[in-house]
């Protein structure tokens, strides 16, 4: 019996039984449903989101009655009028928009050489160190990191302590616009590097050698070969950084100390401080619109970059 056993071992029999059971529970003709089934959770989530947006749209058309704290029964555009006319919102909108654009530009400029060295270095040790340095801050949440900056940059913080040693009076480093932008850049850098690295890996090193042999110094090689070929990565990284910093809440709240609100902070205030759901919803919708408009603008100007996925035409 030994021979027969080895010819058809027990484990195979178990597999056969399992397969037969699986075929009974899920016949092959159900196979066509699998892709839809896998999409189902995502579709459900997006569906809920649309439902939520519908609710927010509805709320944005009702004003808050400050005597009863109830939403008005009739639709009105009063919230939109306030959002567009009150200077506070204009200031906040401009601050977030200009800030996120600046953060995007600075982050890309800083992330590019970092990603380039990480991809091109011939030393595995340097590559690992760069990767670790990149990922460590990822494990520390945004809020904790912002508090870290409070400790470092505060009036009694490390930087001011060091300055006092050389006789310089404490400088107010926190609670201003630049502190917020600084915090955002530091927060966004890993995202940008991680989006850029694959795009740079896709550029063959031989192309740079070829450009050199054809008479291009490194500046011109960078301008005419590396930069154009890295464009998909730059667009992808830029979009991620732009949308994340435009909608950021924690950095303006913590490093701005309430004086440097971004749109998300203004929305938070409407919902949770003044309980004006109507105005909060209006601001939220306007933020969604602005973000979409910006992304659409980038898409039309530069293409979808790495976010296009699929087979991008070269």
């Amino acid at each position: 019996m030994r021979a027969a056993k080895s010819a058809y071992p027990l484990t195979w029999r178990i597999m056969d039984a399992l397969e037969a059971f699986a075929a009974f529970v899920w016949p092959a003709r159900f196979g066509r449903a699998i892709p839809w089934l896998m999409l189902a959770p995502a579709l459900l989530l997006v569906g809920l989101l649309v439902l939520g947006l519908w609710q927010i749209g509805d709320a944005s058309l009702r004003t808050l009655d400050t005597s009863t704290f109830l939403m008005s029964e009739t639709y009105t555009l009063a919230n939109y009028r306030r959002a567009f006319t009150e200077s506070l919102f204009a200031v906040v909108a401009w601050r977030s928009l200009a800030g996120s654009l600046m953060v995007t530009a600075v982050t890309l400029i800083l992330a590019f050489p970092y990603a380039y060295v990480m991809v091109r270095t011939s030393s595995p040790v340097i590559r690992k160190l760069l990767l670790i340095a990149l990922f460590l801050p990822f494990f520390i949440g945004q809020v904790v990191r912002a508090y870290g900056w409070l400790i470092i940059l505060g009036n009694q913080g490390m930087v001011n302590e060091a300055l006092s040693l050389v006789g310089i009076a404490p400088i107010r480093l926190l609670y201003n616009y630049w502190a917020v932008l600084f915090g955002l850049v530091q927060y966004m850098l890993p995202f940008a590097v991680l989006m850029l690295a694959p795009a740079l890996t896709a550029i063959p090193e031989e192309l740079e050698a070829a450009a050199g042999s054809l008479g291009a110094d490194w500046v011109r090689t960078f301008r005419h070969v590396v930069l154009p070929l890295a464009r998909p990565g730059l667009v992808g990284a830029g979009l991620v950084v732009l949308t994340l910093s435009l909608t950021d809440f924690a950095m303006p709240a913590i490093l701005g100390g309430g004086s440097q609100d971004f749109i998300a902070n203004a929305i938070y205030d409407q919902f949770f401080r003044t309980s004006d759901q109507g105005l909060g919803s209006t601001l939220a919708l306007l933020l969604v619109a602005t973000g979409s408009l910006l992304v659409g603008l980038v898409f039309t100007l530069f293409g979808a970059g790495t976010l296009a996925m699929g087979r991008a035409r070269q």
Binding site: E206, A209, A210, G212, S213, L214, R220, V225, Q314
Partner: protein, 349 residues
């Protein structure tokens, strides 16, 4: 600049110089590997040199040193009489065709060819005409507007050649650009390289592991192994009198016979006559008996593997160059092999 397609301007320039490339005692060591060992050679202007060797022989490293992508650990390279070790690639006048071509995918064929002219700050008004002329030369007239990925493998090769030559470099380097092509296209491109090189008279260094390519295209062949130059000679000379056993083994099909007094003796497969009866071997000096182990029909020839008991059961490879003239010998049949003493190659240990 007058038209250069007849190559007159380049030829005139190079013939004055005489020696175009001079490599003197060049060593290259990296990561503890001695990739190139005291390599020295001179290359006359206008000549087509092939550096032939197996992978890891140091041939590509030597080429990259000449191109300037790496600096030699010691020794010096002279191009047109000037030491170039301290000169970065973009300041050398060298056109290079890369193994994977390294065409710029975000540019059209014409933009690729125009690239070196733009980088070398040629007069922008002259560029289109010159690009057109070089695309014509590689038989790609009218293809300038195509993107790189819209071209076939052979067409991409031609763009790469045009791009490497359009700025009239002092030296053309070919880093195994034909290795990835199928055989028919490869042989076609070999002749194309030869034609263009003759037409322009540009000094060329080609790197390959393909002995056939080396024999077909070159004025001179350098055979490399283990980082060292084994032989530098004309193709026919390299084939007829290889300087050592490695060269003999690497180029052509060579049978090593027994060693006599430390000397190794060898005989080329095509120098051995194979017959079924002893009578057919009149005029040969050495005759041995053997048994056919295998007969491989290759179309234009049959390759026989014959075991010879008197040579220590050595397996000799023998060509029959006219297989259609008579019936093929079957495996297992007894045969006689004969060769002339003058055809035996002898190598000092």
């Amino acid at each position: 600049m007058p038209a250069v397609l007849n190559g007159s301007s380049i030829k005139a320039k190079s013939e004055e110089a005489g020696v175009a490339v001079s490599v003197k005692a060049v060593n290259m060591v990296y990561d503890g590997v001695h990739a190139v060992r005291s390599a020295s050679f001179d290359l006359e202007a206008g000549k087509f040199l092939t550096i032939l060797g197996p992978s890891g022989s140091g041939k590509t490293t030597l080429l990259r040193l000449i191109a300037g992508f790496q600096r030699p650990t010691s020794g010096e390279i002279f191009i047109n009489g000037a030491a170039v070790s301290a000169v970065p690639p973009h300041r050398r006048s060298i056109g290079m065709v890369f193994q994977k071509l390294a065409l710029f995918p975000h540019m059209t064929a014409a933009e690729n060819v125009a690239f070196p002219l733009k980088m070398r700050r040629n007069d922008a008004r002259d560029i289109p005409a010159r690009v057109e002329r070089y695309l014509d030369m590689v038989r790609l007239g009218g293809y300038g507007a195509r993107r790189v990925h819209e071209l076939s493998g052979g067409q991409q090769q031609r763009v790469a050649i045009a791009r490497a030559l359009v700025f009239e470099p002092d030296l053309l380097l070919l880093d195994e650009p034909l290795a990835a092509l199928d055989r028919k296209l490869r042989e076609e491109m070999q002749l194309e390289f030869r034609r263009i090189q003759r037409e322009l008279g540009v000094t060329t260094i080609n790197v390959t592991h393909d002995q056939r390519e080396a024999l077909v295209v070159s004025d001179e062949i350098i055979v490399m192994d283990g980082g060292e130059i084994q032989q530098k000679a004309r193709p026919a000379e390299t084939y007829r009198s290889p300087s050592n056993a490695f060269v003999a083994n690497f180029i052509g099909v060579t049978n090593f016979l027994d060693a006599q007094g430390g000397e190794r003796r060898a005989i080329r497969a095509e120098k051995i006559r194979i017959v079924a009866t002893r009578a057919g071997l009149a005029g040969t000096d050495t005759i041995v008996e053997g048994v056919v182990v295998d007969a491989i029909f290759e179309g234009e020839r049959v390759v026989y593997e014959v075991r010879v008991a008197s040579l220590g059961d050595a397996l000799l490879r023998v060509f029959d160059h006219d297989p259609s003239a008579h019936s093929q010998l079957e495996a297992g049949s007894a045969v006689y092999l004969g060769w002339a003493a003058s055809d035996v190659l002898e190598f000092k240990p």
